[in-house]
Amino acid sequence: MIPAAPPPPQRRDLLRQWAGTPLTALVSAVSAALAIWAIWIVLDWAVLSASPPQRPMHACAETAGACWRFYVEKSRFMLFGTYPYQDHWRPGLASMLLLALSGVVGLRITGRLDRITPRVLVALWIATIPAAFLLMGGGWAGLDRVDMSRWNGLPVLLILSVIAIALAFPLGVTLAVLRHQDRWPVLRRAAVVYIETMRGVPMVTVLFVGVFVLPLTLPPGTRISPVMATLVALILFHASYFAEDVRGGLQSLPEAQTEAAKALGLTWSQTMGLVLLPQALSRSLPALVNSVIGAYKDTSLVVVLGIHDLTSTARMAFSEPGWGQYALEAYAFVGIWFLLSCAFLSWIGRELHKGQSARSH
């Protein structure tokens, strides 16, 4: 028998939730007032007292609100920094590739785009990462070579977040497996030491080690650019956090899973690859998404190493003499970018949460 559907929630419930008791009524009124006030300030700044983009720059001096002309003049600079102007399509294309691929992965995790198998996704990553570097670096097929000191803005942010996370993930899974298994005690200990050390050190320290110590370990005569050194440091750092997320998933699996796999005659690697890891990964997804959001936002710390990501190019945009009063516009640009990208990531987190609670019911 199909159970009767519960009645739809009544509007009065909503009213009761918002203003059932004097206290909730007060809280609701205050928060509504605050929200209206905040929206009014933003609206006033961005629209009502703003200077529209078609008006010239000098008109901005008299307006209290946003100077939209600033974005016309400086958007490309904030996105791509000192990359040669006529070649901006290259970092643009590289950024779009990385963004599109991240979007596809995000949608796939939430259960959409089912036709794209994990195998295809891995192949896409393997193709996209070198493609991004080749596009940015040039030196082939008539593309001018562009030094890494000119890689600024959005593409650097994406390389240091998306590529670092993409490469840290397999390393993290490997570390988690090594820490979880007991066939090779030496490797297990090594994984424990590595993970605990990395997690015990602040990210800024790891970055400084990457940029100032890593080059010393290379054979003499070779040099590694700060962007590459930072990328390596970030991969090694994020991997330890991913490893702990995945280990949480592995430990949550009942022992019976391993025993059942053994009883079926599966080898150790088959047990791990076919039985344990798939379940562990799907269980650790919410924690992984959480780590990814943290890792993504931490990327802006690379400013301390003299790498110019989006936050840094925004600062440079208003450092040009005569542009100093447009700091708010520049930071708003960066803020909107991070708001949108982090909103996407947390949307994935919420979708996963929904999926999980649906499954556990």
Binding site: E73, K74, R76, F77, F80, G81, T82, Y83, P84, Y85, D147, S149, R150, N152, P220, R223, P226, L305, G306, H308, R315, M316, S319, E320, P321, G322, G324, A327
Partner: protein, 347 residues
């Protein structure tokens, strides 16, 4: 350091041989082979080097990169100007991945003694000073006993303050704020009484306040900061840089600028011998060009494409810019006006 030593030996051997028509050293050859001159500047130094909306570095320091490219390659736009942090830029030059640096590096004894770097020509004489709110009513730094000072942690600024206050037997308190924007904000909002930095930086930073008129820069300058061009050691390259700079200084004293150079060239035979020696077809500069391996009209190209020293100063830092520096009141005034910019004879 092996690269540096081989550089020196190569330079030395080319000197010893001397038979070659040009003195061109390995750095000079590298610049010509690449047809591009890699020059490092500070990524964000308003007025000195900061990228414009197209991402091209503009400013006082960036123009000396263009000066070198105009002199050596005949085209100022062949300067590959890259924004790199301070310690990285030193390493990059020593490792041979850049040809020169124009980034407000103070020439000090120990830095000059390091191998792999050659200081060439001082383009800007700066010094450390103090800025205070007008409301404080202080007219001299000697009245700052017990003040709280906002300064950058770990910089020579703090060392200079310690020296200066120590010598006067005055006490002070440092507010360490690493981030420049935050530090300035703290000063403007009154969290510290004094803001210390190089005098030029002070006048630039003052512009970032909503009310620049509320702050005064005190007359005392407590340190000497000769900001100097650095090059990878190569005698021909260093000479080319040094004398290009001298051409800009000489042009300044002769009243020649990028605006009037073409007019002067068209009636060169009516000009003074000093002008003819700089720009004539068979002159001191063409003689130098042959020996250093420069284009014959290098002096003209420097003035035409970059300008005289005074022109470059006024374009980026002068009275019509937000910095509003009056060159005659700084140590960068012409020697004839009591400044330190002394043009060497080109002959």
């Amino acid at each position: 350091m092996t690269t540096f030593k081989s550089l020196v030996t190569a330079t030395a051997s080319s000197l010893v041989l001397g038979a070659a028509p040009a003195l061109a050293g390995p750095v000079m050859d590298d610049i010509k082979a690449k047809d591009s001159l890699i020059c490092l500047v500070s990524p964000t130094a308003p007025g000195f080097s900061v990228p414009d909306s197209q991402g091209v570095f503009q400013g006082f320091n960036a123009d000396f990169c263009r000066m070198a490219a105009a002199a050596i390659l005949g085209d100022a736009s062949k300067a590959d100007i890259r924004g790199v942090g301070f310690s990285d830029s030193m390493k990059t030059i020593v490792a041979g991945e850049a040809h020169m640096g124009s980034r407000s590096i103070t020439r000090t004894g120990t830095r000059d003694a390091d191998e792999g770097l050659a200081f060439v020509a001082t383009t800007f004489f700066d010094g450390q000073g103090f800025m205070v709110p007008r409301s404080l009513g202080v007219a001299s730094a000697a009245e700052l006993d017990g003040a709280s000072v906002c300064a950058e942690d770990g910089s020579t600024t703090l060392l200079n303050i310690a020296d200066w206050f120590g010598a006067k037997g005055m006490s002070y308190r440092v507010e360490n704020i690493a981030d420049k924007t935050a530090r300035l904000e703290a000063f403007f909002s009154g969290k510290c009484d004094v803001y210390a930095s190089d005098v030029t930086a002070l006048s630039a930073d003052r512009q970032l306040s909503d009310t620049p008129g509320d702050f005064v820069i005190l007359p005392e300058v407590i340190s000497n900061e000769p900001l100097t061009l650095v090059a990878r050691p190569d005698q021909a390259f260093e000479a080319a840089l040094f004398w290009s700079f001298q051409v800009m200084l000489n042009a300044d004293s002769l009243g020649i600028s990028s605006a009037n150079i073409d007019e002067i060239m068209s009636q060169l035979d009516q000009k003074t011998p000093a002008v003819q020696r700089m720009f004539g077809a068979d002159s001191a500069t063409t003689d130098m060009a042959a020996k250093l391996g420069l284009p014959a009209d290098w002096a003209y190209q420097v003035v035409k494409q970059v300008g005289s020293y005074g022109e470059v100063f006024d374009r980026h830092l002068g009275a019509d810019t937000p910095f509003g520096l009056v060159r005659a009141t700084t140590p960068n005034a012409h020697a004839a006006d009591g400044g330190l910019m002394y043009p060497f004879p080109i002959r």
